[in-house]
């Protein structure tokens, strides 16, 4: 649910300089890559495939 606090946080992040926001995008992307290549994720996919049979 979108609270007033969420909206305030979004507003604050939106007001950051573009360079700073792009650094955050870099970090988000790096984090996604780490998660995607993590052995834990591979196990999780395997676990899901056992559970679903797919």
């Amino acid at each position: 649910m979108d609270t007033a606090l969420d909206r305030e946080r979004r507003k604050r992040l939106a007001s950051l300089p573009f360079s700073q926001k792009l650094k955050i995008l870099d970090k988000l992307r790096n984090r996604a890559r780490v998660i995607a290549s993590s052995p834990l994720r591979e196990k999780a996919i395997h676990f899901v495939s056992i559970r679903t049979g797919k």
Binding site: R7, R9, R10, K11, L13, A14, F18, S19, K21, L22, K23, I24, L25, D26, L28, R29, A32
Partner: protein
């Protein structure tokens, strides 16, 4: 991202591409909170080949592969980022490119599509994530509604805008 933009600027000064502007989620990040994305959409004009009306992205890929970039599906990896080059395919995208906003990223000059053109392009694309982004633009009040309306009318999106407003803004 800085090195990505530096390379794109070098391509421009070397005449491989003409005017360019960042669109998509990265372009929207200029106005909104950062939201995770897998690639950078770059709208770009391509120099025309004398005697031909065909546009080709081949010179971009040739240039970048010579400079050590690698292809990955429909993207080319520049710096750390997969980049998709998008020649404008209609009048609205040509206008968006022409009217993009100048800015700088860590001292590197670049251009970003205007908030109003990003909204119009998102409306036309019409995916759930596009509609969510439009709502963010409106909530933050970063799009000039008169200018947006002009774009929507000029490019035949006024009806779709009305339907969007009824569905997402008036409930």
């Amino acid at each position: 991202m800085k090195s990505t933009l530096e390379t794109i600027n070098r391509m421009q000064s070397d005449g491989v591409i003409g005017q360019y502007a960042i669109g998509g989620a990265v372009g929207a990040t200029f106005y909104l909170e950062p939201s995770a994305t897998v690639d950078v959409d770059v709208f770009v004009t391509l120099p025309t080949v004398p005697g031909s009306s065909l546009l080709s992205l081949a010179p971009i890929y040739d240039y970048l592969t010579v400079h050590g970039c690698t292809l990955e599906g429909e993207h080319i990896i520049i710096g750390d980022w997969p980049v998709q080059f998008l020649p404008p395919h209609d009048a609205m995208e040509q206008e968006a490119l022409a009217e993009a906003v100048e800015t700088e990223v860590q001292g590197v000059r670049t251009r970003v599509l205007s908030a109003e053109h990003l909204v119009a392009i998102a409306l036309r694309a019409g995916r759930a994530k596009d509609y969510a982004r439009i709502v963010q633009f409106l909530e933050l009040g970063v799009a000039d509604l008169d200018r947006l309306n002009g774009i929507l009318v000029r490019h035949g999106l006024a009806d779709k805008w009305e339907r969007f407003k009824r569905k997402y803004l008036e409930e």
